[in-house]
Symmetry: C2
Subunit: 394 residues, 2 copies
């Protein structure tokens, strides 16, 4: 863990130079309650009082913290200079900035990217007030670019952790295929998965409320809700959305099963067709995905294949980045909708790890969806997950 | 859990009327990553896309959420009207506000109170942009007052949960007294406590990094850091800061032990004196604490007793509120220091639950500190924790 944080701090320094930002200021308080996603990456501990963590393009690492928080920061050892205050952080903060004289100071806010938006509005107002009579209040910029690069460009070690999380998830999915049968409820299927998670001492990749999410049949909401007492029945398409965390890195994968009716050898033709359209949409998007591609155009490749095959378009993005969080922030392979802000116009970079997860509804049966995880490289996009090629039959 | 949220929503409606605020708008996205502390109280589930939860003084509960998040909100059932969007929340949000015509809309930001500061700066900018051409952008106010009342005024049920958490903590402290001996490390003492926590299937009240915190002897930082390999030795004062969560409610208590030297029957006089000054400072502050008291004046009662007894003043507040979080926000019994903003000037209210936790250093031995939990009532302040009257001897 320690080593990972020092590695990320070193990477941040390089990114600051590349983006011509002089200092990155992470400004937090009571950080365990509402953790700024930057802390997990480049700080590694929590604080109670107002604390400023500063990383500069020159390689300085400075923490300014309340007198009772400094020992903890020193114990963790990632910030070389740790300064202490009792009554208020203002004077010390202004002093440090006066010494550093940064022309551009990045702070953690972003309208588009939740993972780059760790600064609360109250703390923003407080910061501006502290810097009121200095030139620095006017030098604050969004740290979006830093986050996009720092979270997005995965090191070989980070990719190994993600691969390990994927492996565990796919192993558990294999067991699910053996376990599934008509008469089970979504809840029971989820409980089976959770037992495996505990047995393997894994953490879940997102909110346990809907990790795993299990959807069976034509009458489910199909995403972002928890498993219910709905019963698995012959003729259902069943899909699961599930991920685990290994050494702090996540997987996020979906698989689709078909529950055969009596005497059915195969799934009905319309079910197979829906599944295959999804599978092919993923393949086509992966082929198109490369460094420099515009995010919305990648989404459009999959979206078009689905609508031109006669299905409704999926009401979400084709894929998001995966890393320390299942939704890891930065660029998203999304359509040009209001809610995505600037994200559709961002460019794909090498070493980013994305999900590809289109979906479509097969009337009367359920939702066909697959979610794979891919790594962008200067050459061909690599599947980190072994792709689901065929519908799993139960 | 469900019942508790409905109870808190009903309480919020009453508070909105009392404070003459027409609507409370909670505006979040990817809420499991950086949870707005309001969610735990009045929402009870997480969302992925931008979501607006609106509670009005008229008793309306309206959620506007992305199409994949609505089913989950409906499943939880706390918001009577759930509206859905696909491309962007703006039009639907403007429509709902146009129907409600609120004159004052509270949103979650606060420079002083972290628990009332759940809105990120990026989301604030986004909200203002959505409301740009409406009269509502200029009607936004801080929800501080709502939080202070809603978190601060504990119901009988909430007090029962806090009492249960206190009971578990004090039971474990009793076991610690039997376990403590010279030669143990802080880490081992913490592990002993953590084994008890697991045995009783309890959750910790704060960051496991320093819950419990164990400090032995004269050379410790004394607060907010994790247990180390420092060894417990005769002549040490040892103190522990620890709390658990029962049914979602926290305890937060400190106790102090003295490790006797060979042939010592009692603790040295200066150790007993330091401990007694702390104990008496708590008693005096509790006697002074009452509805209507100004927060900084309560702190000053304890602070003065300590400094006039010849000790340095403690570098923090006398006490904070306890509830769903160990640091539950709202008013704090704190000195008039820059970092506390408006908090020192707030008034104590009945039904609030505070810690009282002064500290002082006994040179050559360690830190004497006690943390009790009290309930403010119109009559006498009630100790919810059985107060530590004497130094525990090992």
């Amino acid at each position: 863990m320690n080593r990972m944080i020092d590695e990320k701090i070193a990477q941040a320094v390089d990114i600051l130079r590349e983006k011509r930002i002089d200092a990155w200021l992470i400004f937090v308080r009571e950080s365990a309650t509402m953790p700024d996603p930057a802390l997990d990456m480049v700080v590694g501990s929590h604080c109670t009082w107002q604390t400023a963590y500063i990383i500069t393009a020159g390689g300085d690492t400075i923490a300014i913290a309340g007198s009772l928080d400094t020992a903890n920061i020193e114990q963790h050892g990632h910030f070389r200079s740790v300064r202490s205050y009792v009554e208020g952080i203002g004077p010390e903060l202004r002093g440090v900035l006066k010494d550093l004289k940064p022309k551009k100071i990045a702070i953690n806010y972003s309208t588009s990217s939740p993972m780059a938006d760790g600064l609360t509005h109250g703390m923003y107002l407080q910061l501006v007030e502290y810097l009121n009579d200095t030139p620095y209040a006017r030098r604050l910029v969004s740290a979006e670019e830093i986050f996009a690069a720092l979270r997005g460009r995965k090191s070989p070690q980070e990719i190994r952790h993600i691969r390990a999380a994927i492996r565990e998830t796919l192993d558990i999915y294999d067991l699910v295929t053996g376990y599934l049968r008509p008469g089970l409820t979504e809840r029971k299927v989820a409980d089976f998965i959770l037992r495996e998670v505990r047995k393997r001492k894994l953490d879940l990749a997102w909110d346990p409320d809907h990790c795993p999410a299990v959807f069976t049949g034509p009458d489910t909401p199909g995403a972002h809700t928890g498993p219910t007492n709905r019963t698995v029945r012959p003729g259902h398409i069943l899909n699961i959305d599930f991920g685990v965390k290994v050494d702090g890195y996540c997987s996020d994968l979906q698989r689709t099963w078909y529950i055969r009716r009596k005497n059915e050898k195969q799934a009905p033709r319309e079910v197979v067709r829906g599944f295959n359209v999804i599978r092919d949409a993923i393949k086509m998007a992966a082929d198109y995905l490369r460094p420099g591609a515009i995010c919305w155009k990648v989404d459009m490749v999959a979206r078009k294949h689905i609508t031109s095959s006669g299905y409704d378009e999926y009401p979400h993005a084709l894929g998001h980045q995966v890393g320390r969080a299942a939704h890891d922030g930065g660029s998203v392979l999304c359509p040009r909708w209001e809610r995505y802000g600037k994200l559709p116009y961002m460019k794909v970079e090498a070493q980013q790890v994305y999900t590809l997860e289109p979906r479509l509804t097969v009337e009367g049966h359920g939702v066909a969806t697959i979610e794979e995880i891919v790594l962008v490289t200067p050459e061909k996009t690599k599947f980190l997950s072994k792709p689901q090629r065929r519908l799993y039959l139960v």
